[in-house]
Amino acid sequence: MQDTEDMAAESGFEGEEPSFSDPEDFVDDIDEEELLGDVLKERPQEADGIDSVIVVDNVPQVGPERLEKLKTVIHKIFSKFGKITNEFYPEAEGKTKGYIFLEYTSPAQAAEAVKNADGYKLDKQHTFRVNLFTDFDKYMTICDEWETPEKQPFKDFGNLRHWLEDPDCRDQYSVIFEAGERTGIFSNDVKEPILTEERPRWTETYVRWSPKGTYLATFHQRGIALWGGEKFKQIQRFSHQGVQLIDFSPCERYMVTFSPLVDMKDDPQAIIIWDVLTGQKKRGFHCESSAHWPIFKWSHDGKFFARMTQDTLSIYETPSMGLLDKKSLKISGIKDFSWSPGDNIIAFWVPEDKDIPARVTLMQIPSRHEIRVRNLFNVVDCKLHWQKNGDYLCVKVDRTPRGAQGVVTNFEIFRMREKQVPVDVVEMKESIIAFAWEPNGSKFAVLHGESPRISVSFYHVKSNGKIELIKMFDKQQANSIFWSPQGQFLVLAGLRSMNGALAFVDTSDCTMMNIAEHYMASDVEWDPTGRYVVTSVSWWSHKVDNAFWLWTFQGRLLQKNNKDRFCQLLWRPRPATLLSQEQIKLIKKDLKRYAKIFEQKDRLSQSKASKELIDKRQTMMEDYRKYRAAAMQLYQEQRPLRLEIRGGVDTDELDSNVDDWEEETIEFFINEEIIPLGDLA
């Protein structure tokens, strides 16, 4: 190894070495913090000892005979966080008091112990409470003077569920148009949309409704704003620079935001989880790629959220935002997972690994008990499709069977409500374009084949375990399936490149109710009640004909709404019904009575509409007639002028000059045909 002095000579440096010292009168104006901030952070702190001590409460009170065992257990648990240099188990009347003191070699280790061991459940009766010794000091010396906290003014947002009280049960939807410059909220009425609220530049990109419809979220460079109530007042603001994507917990208590801009090693800011009501940041996470949003998937009750990283499944619980059991699950090779929409069960799959076949696992949370494992062979890919209530799970398996070429698809149907979750297999002969479960039901629809030979098949999962093919229609122009949120009805759509072909199907008897078209349609959206369907041509995918059309669930076209540079329509979701199953049954029994009342109301409103329309038309016709009468009068007055201009020839009517017409009959050759008459003899 060369000396540094020699190196300068070795490198062939010519001339004098430049001076590296500061000029004489140079005054340093940068402090150490700026220059060496990160190094200073690691400067050894004065260890005055007590910062490394923790106090553990709720420790079992034991007599001397069990003390050694206790100490071993405590040691095992707490040495995970650092080297324990000292321990003290205070005693009284022959037993340990129930709290102990442990000292680590550094305050950081003590902090780790507090962070991770606080709340540790040793057994049924003992859950450790861990604190820093210095904290006790802090809390003991709290000022005796009570300072009343500042009173926050009460922000009254009104009734956040106001839209549900519409006497005619109209659903709302948001519309973004003028290429994003204007956003409007409309109430859906059969006659025409009723404008509720419209604002310019309400959002900078697009909008999202919260899962129960309470809030409207708008996107801005600085973050997200939530609006709600009758007047759509701003309820909350969340500051997250450059936010691109958001997600809500199903209960609407939490919101997750993603921004690719801000993220520091120590302070993860790429993904932030917020408490919606208080506006507080609950926790931040790093995020490598937002390709499969939402990164965090929520359990249906909002109690857990989970995400998948390389070979790992991390499950967190609310409201603590901490890892369940304080650790992630190691699942080697995990490819995908999803929550059951009805229970706290996670389904995930891992591909083949040497001798171990690929498998799908159903795991119950929080017990982590594997309630079902299914082995799969020669798997290329799997997709998980849950039925809306969690009654069924469909795993679409693409396989390359041994000895055969090409990829074959099976549907493995898990029947979740039955003991031991039986699995049945449906083999598909063609490649799959789309798959969708009937919400609230036990049917599913599959689009399969390859353009132009696409077919749709309807299957029914029967209670006896058989999966029956109910019906198949071929020669379909469709690439997407849209079930009504209430089940039974669906729309098959050929969006975008398939020019907006639509088919409305009733799956109770698998009939095509109507076949129609919305040229170049890019989206199909059912209203939350399943009564109406909106098809639309978004300016984001097609620059002309931007409009949204309203249809009944049977495929009858009700309205065509052209909107200048229309971009997006989203129905406002409805929260779950408050009625019990019994109440719903009662209403269905009495449906005839209710139907009569509604029919009467509809007829009244329709005749009112007809009356309005008829009145309008009558007025328009009257005005037009008046105008034409006046024009005709002028025309007649000008007749002599016309005759004069055309030298006395009357050209006012087509037949004014019938005498002048010549009739000529012309014959011309069309065709020659030779017809044999057969033997005449």
Binding site: V544, D545, N546, A547, N562, S610, L613, I614, R617, Q618, M620, M621, Y624, R625, Y627, R628, A631, M632, L634, Y635, Q638, L641, R642, I645, R646, V649, T651, D652, L654
Partner: protein
């Protein structure tokens, strides 16, 4: 044969004696209808966009495009004065500096020309002096076509702003508006002027392949006719009102006859 460039406009006089054509070869020519003989050639500095005979057939007008440094002009010639034709001297020439004329028709008695402009304006130019008698701006974008009703009392304008509008020829009063989702290339008024059944046909702009029919008084669309493979550039009703024809970018002229239902149906009202 005759023009050496695209023919942009053609008109025939009321007696079908003469034919007038305007072309991108910078000429406007007069022809004898029966023999096809060219009777006159009027040179211009730029392409001739619109042309037409007045009610008497004696006065012709044509407008030239704004091109290559030349302005748009509206020119009037009196065919009874051979000197004007020989010396290529219109008796009135109106410059249109602001917005060029995109379509034009004669008014009822040959008193003025109704012109539609690139900026959506409509002007009445006097046939005597060339001054602007009346002007309106109801359209927000270029006027693609103007056609008259059979009795010349009304005109219908087709505009890039997705609407067609009905005006009174003399007062330029805006009477009706017909809305579509796309730029309108051409519009025509049915000669069956029965006020109950007056219909307006509209053929559209970029990519539209429908001819759309409106009830004139209610401004409501009641029918669409498919068939063309490309945009429809012009529509016209047969003088007896029993059929219409449409010409499209696809190179086809389609002639449609209305079925009995068209003549019978009634709007509630």
């Amino acid at each position: 044969n005759g023009h050496t460039g695209a023919v942009w406009c053609v008109d025939v006089d009321w007696d079908t004696k003469h034919v007038l054509t305007g072309s991108a070869d910078n000429t406007c020519r007069l022809w004898d209808c029966q023999t096809g003989r060219q009777l006159a050639l009027l040179k211009t500095s730029s392409a001739v966009r619109t042309c037409g005979f007045d009610f008497s057939g004696n006065i012709i007008m044509f407008s030239t495009d704004k091109q290559m440094g030349y302005q748009c002009y509206l020119n009037y010639f009196d065919l009874r004065d051979p000197q004007q034709i020989e010396e290529n001297q219109p008796y009135v020439s109106v410059p249109c500096s602001e917005s060029k004329i995109t379509s034009a028709v004669w008014g009822p008695l040959g008193e003025f020309v109704i012109a539609g402009h690139e900026n959506g304006e409509i002007n009445q130019f006097s046939a005597k002096s060339g001054e602007v008698l009346r002007k309106v701006k109801e359209h927000t974008k270029q006027i693609n076509d103007i056609q008259t009703s059979v009795d010349l009392t009304m005109v219908i304008t087709a505009s890039k702003d997705n609407t067609a509008k009905l005006f009174d020829s003399t007062s330029l009063e805006h009477i009706k508006t017909f809305k579509t989702e796309r730029p309108v290339n051409s519009a025509a008024i049915s000669p069956i002027m029965d006020h109950v059944r007056c219909t307006v046909a509209v053929g559209g702009g970029v990519n539209i392949v429908f001819a759309v029919f409106f009830h004139a008084a209610y401004e409501e669309e009641f029918g669409r006719v498919k068939g063309h493979f490309g945009p429809i550039n012009c529509v016209a009703f047969h003088p007896d009102g029993k059929s219409y024809s449409s010409g499209g970018e696809d190179g086809y002229v389609r002639i449609h006859y209305f079925d009995p239902h068209y003549f019978e149906f009634e709007f509630e009202g």
